[in-house]
Amino acid sequence: MRIVIAEDDALLREGLALLLRAEGLDVVATAGDPAELLAAVAEHAPDTAIVDVRMPPTHTNEGIVAAVEARRLQPGLAVLVLSAYVEEAFATELLANGSAGLGYLLKERVGRVEEFLDALHRVASGGTAIDPEVVAQLFARTRSDSRLDRLSPREREVLAAMAEGLGNSAIAARLFVTEGAVHKHIRSIFAKLDLAPTDLADRRVTAVLHYLEDARLRA
């Protein structure tokens, strides 16, 4: 996997590169601002970009703007966005045009190396990684008498894991159940929420996020 890292904090940028290289990943370039990121993408044609949201000059959303531009330059480029804080409104905006090859995680998740690498691989292979914090915010904002109430506690856990972008086997591993059990839960959830069942991870994430977003808007 060929990776470009865009992060304005030098220490963090080098730390991240060091971590990924130690894991045998190919960090082809690092960038300190959006212009460097675009130049690196043009030069190295990486598979994946890891991008900090807040970068110079204004430290607001330069990272997102640059990521969108980089995807325009190189369609199919997977982008994992890292941020000092997450906002579900921002996530739904980011994923408005599909969630394939996109990730949105809190910066600090990088420290949990195994999970971070999972998320990175998922995004690089066209999947999705949404921070649990975003999913929690979506759940917290849905109205109490929505259809979500029909879900059992276990089904809610499965739904949250799906929203994060986890595949069936990852969900099974996280909840210590068999994949068959996960499959059964998912069918039940889709039936209760009137969603068309699908096993394609990214479609599933989009459907679930849209559902949660609608539930929030109806609230």
């Binding site: 304005d8 904090d9 220490l11 963090l12 730390g15 991240l16 060091l18 971590l19 130690a22 894991e23 807040r54 110079p56 000059p57 204004t58 430290h59 000092a84 804080y85 910066k107 600090e108 990088v110 420290g111 949990r112 190396v113 971070f116």
Partner: protein, 435 residues
């Protein structure tokens, strides 16, 4: 406090101070007011003499240096009169603090009105006060004349305001009757005299009808908005330094620890350097956290003086900074915090933009004003910019200056920046101490 507006005038009244009831009560009230006014008038006379002396001394030059003290003395006496008038009737609102330079002060309309009031207040106040004191005393003396005239030596048997020596009972009774007439005159005259004595002050010491107050309200509204803007910008700055500085350091710690953990599984020897770097990052995080906390409000201001807090700033400034601070006592906490902020912001600008080799921070207390001056020998050319324009480091020097101005104005202070291209740069701030 009851506030109501009548046209452009703003009238503020307090619940009336305990007023005595009845004719006698009103008279006693009036006498009390006249005596109080007499006291202010004596002070006004002293201030007037001082103003005259200073004005005369202007001929030989030293007066220009003395005149500000006279203006402050006038302001003190005027404030005393304002608070006295506010006690006995509608509140007389004070003006904005004295402008700092002599020229500005003399151009200030409230200062001019105070100077106009001074001779009226002094003469009218003294004259009416003196009459107010002698009239009732003499009235009482004459009204009781029949009771004591026989008991005193002959040369003292005189009614007030005359040289006539009373020798007979009919004469004594006539004096006594005249005394009652005097009492009636005193009762009738004292209240209008009290009003007359207060008149120049009410006329000249309050805000000029309409315009003056409207300006002051506009100024207060603007400075309050400025203060809120400065506050919001400050919160944004803190949020940025926490997210982009401290948090990044801690994330780096976490990343390096994660890497070390993975290294332990593969090649334990490689974990050592990673742990060391993680510790470095953790220490940097602590340094940054301390800097952020100190920039919010230095803990040292809580239990030590402004001087202590500023010497901490001067000591940690990368551009050598000399602190010259006189014994300034304590000011209101918000004033000290603002003074600290001004110096912190100014020194940050010196380091980032001036290219200076050294800087000097001077702090003086001039009566009720705190004067802070930050001087550097850099390249100058500093100018204020709107808060929206930021440079690469997220807190442009210009927007920092705007922040200083807004904070200072919220305290009714003054802000002057002298920074010709080529340097040097001097930033001067004065703040009313508020204590």
């Amino acid at each position: 406090m009851d506030t109501h507006t009548a046209g452009a005038d703003l009238v503020v009244t307090r619940p009336p101070a305990q007023r005595r009831a009845g004719i006698a009560g009103r008279t006693v009230d009036a006498i009390e007011q006249l005596v109080g006014g007499f006291g202010t008038a004596v002070l006004a006379l002293v201030a007037l003499l001082w103003v005259v002396v200073c004005a005369a001394a202007c001929v030989v030059g030293v007066g220009f240096w003395m005149l500000p003290t006279a203006l402050r003395a006038v302001r003190l006496v005027a404030d005393r009169e304002r608070s006295r008038l506010s006690q006995i009737g509608p509140v007389v609102l004070g003006p904005a603090p004295l402008p700092h330079g002599l020229r500005d002060a003399l151009r200030d309309s409230s200062v001019r009105r105070e100077l106009a009031w001074l001779p009226c207040g002094a003469t009218l106040g003294l004259a009416l006060g003196a009459i107010a004191l002698t009239l009732p005393l003499n009235a009482a003396r004459d009204a009781t004349f029949a009771l004591w005239w026989m008991a005193v030596p002959e040369e003292l048997r005189q009614p007030s305001f005359s040289g006539w020596v009373v020798e007979t009972w009919p004469g004594a009774i006539a004096v006594t009757l005249a005394g009652f007439a005097w009492v009636a005159v005193a009762v009738g005259l004292e209240p209008p005299m009290a009003r007359l004595q207060a008149w120049p002050g009410r006329r000249l010491l309050g805000p000029r009808p309409g315009t003056d107050l409207a300006l002051r309200v506009a100024e207060l509204t603007a400075t309050r908005a400025g203060a809120l803007d400065a506050h919001a910008a400050e919160l944004r700055r803190i949020e940025r330094s926490l997210h982009d500085g401290t948090q990044n350091r801690i994330v780096a710690v976490s990343v390096l620890l994660g890497a070390a953990q993975r290294a332990l599984l593969r090649d334990p020897a490689a974990a050592g350097p990673l742990l060391e770097r993680a510790q470095d990052a953790a220490e940097q995080a602590l340094v940054e956290l301390r800097a952020v906390a100190r920039s919010i409000l230095p803990a040292v201001l809580e239990d030590r003086t402004l001087g202590d807090a500023l010497s901490g700033l001067a000591a940690t400034s990368p551009v050598p900074c000399r602190l010259d601070i006189a014994d300034i006592g304590r000011c209101a906490a918000s004033v000290e915090a603002t003074a600290y902020f001004v110096v912190a912001e100014a020194l940050t600008n010196v380091v980032r933009h001036s290219g200076a080799r050294s800087s000097v921070v001077t702090v003086r207390r001039d009566d009720d004003r705190l004067e802070v001056t930050v001087h550097d020998d850099g390249t100058g050319g500093a100018a204020e910019r709107a808060a929206g324009e930021r440079d690469r480091d997220g807190a442009g020097g210009g927007s920092g200056l705007a922040g200083i101005r807004r904070r200072v104005q919220a305290h009714d202070g003054t802000f002057t920046l002298t920074s010709p291209v080529g340097g040097p740069t001097t930033l001067e701030v004065t703040l009313p101490c508020g204590s």
